[in-house]
Symmetry: C2
Subunit: 212 residues, 2 copies
């Protein structure tokens, strides 16, 4: 054995920091949370944070990676793979998102919206590194949407020449917007009320012919 588990069963400050950063930043925002507060919640001194991470940005980046991994495993995959039929899958996915938001609101008192969208909005204009990392996570979500849509095309639920790329992107945009509205309302019911619009964007447009 080359490295027999760094020390033994470690108390793992690194993970505690990631967890604290997730809870605080997702529940509030990047700018509204200081590293002192993160350290306090993690039960770790500030110097230790800088042993594991070069700074606040890097900690946030790592937090987002872990958050996406959890989100994919706990919400995206089970929410989308659940039912048969495209519209049933949409319904299940909306309910999964609703449950996710409602649970966090119950735990922390705050409806967070989409953590990735939130950070993209807050940091998008003046923090390119974070912006591009978030862009990558959003692309990963889009890819999941597209594969669901591709399956629907193969099953004949959607026309053969459907632009699933475009539809997946529209789904993501709509989902982000729904979560912005839910956050502005601080009410998870908004997600259920607007969720069905995800199905509407799939409908064939009768303006195939347009005389201009």
């Amino acid at each position: 054995m080359e490295t027999t588990t760094p020390h033994h069963t470690r108390h793992d400050s690194r993970e505690d920091l990631l967890k604290a950063a997730r809870e605080l930043i997702v529940g509030r925002s990047y700018g509204a949370v200081g590293i002192a507060e993160i350290c306090a919640r993690a039960g770790v001194r500030k110097g230790s944070l800088y042993h594991f991470f070069p700074g606040k940005e890097a900690l946030t980046l790592a937090m987002l990676d872990a958050l996406y991994a959890d989100f994919e495993r706990e919400v995206l995959i089970p929410g989308l793979a659940g039912a048969d039929g495209l519209h049933a899958r949409i319904e299940a996915f909306v309910r999964a998102i609703h449950a996710f938001e409602a649970r966090i609101q119950a735990e922390s008192g705050q409806l967070p919206g989409c953590p990735f969208g939130n950070l993209a909005v807050e940091m998008g204009t003046h923090h390119p590194t974070l912006r591009q990392a978030i862009r990558g996570h959003l692309d990963a979500v889009t890819a999941h949407f597209r594969s669901v849509l591709d399956e629907a095309v193969q099953d004949g639920e959607l026309p053969p020449h459907t632009d699933t790329d475009a539809l997946a992107e529209q789904w993501l945009a709509l989902m982000e917007g729904i979560l912005v509205m839910a956050k502005a309302d601080q009410d998870p019911a908004t997600i259920l009320r607007l969720g069905p619009a995800l199905g509407a964007v799939l409908n064939p447009s009768p303006e195939a012919r347009h005389e201009s």
Copy 2:
């Protein structure tokens, strides 16, 4: 004459502060802009700011009011009243939003997204006063959307029993989401690419009959 223009033609620090706050906060975020920077851009000393406004939050609130008034006058009304026909109006509105975002990006180097949605996302969970003010502005936008949809119902472009309230809300959510994505991309082309989805949500759903 009771009050012959407070002093004479005033240099108007108040308006300079509102303008500076708008440019900076819209271009970055609430948390990333300090009052010192706002004062510097406005060419006003900090004490004067606190003569006109009780604090940063009140300044931001007043800035948002003025911003909404301008947005309604310059984008919302001309963008929605322009053309005949619902789909033409959608197209015109999307182009108006695109022009708005592209102009700000050209001026400041930053694509801001929706200033109201941005603030709702950033402050929604921990700043109820701002959140509710923003919620009011978003409702005002929804009302404009709904009146356009109501006209379309009257003109027979939409079925008589269309739930224009729900559709207007879906439009706003989608528009917010489109602007989140455009901000994540920092690319106004995203607005044009996703804009047509606004028309898609209007399409009649062929699942009017569902056997379950």
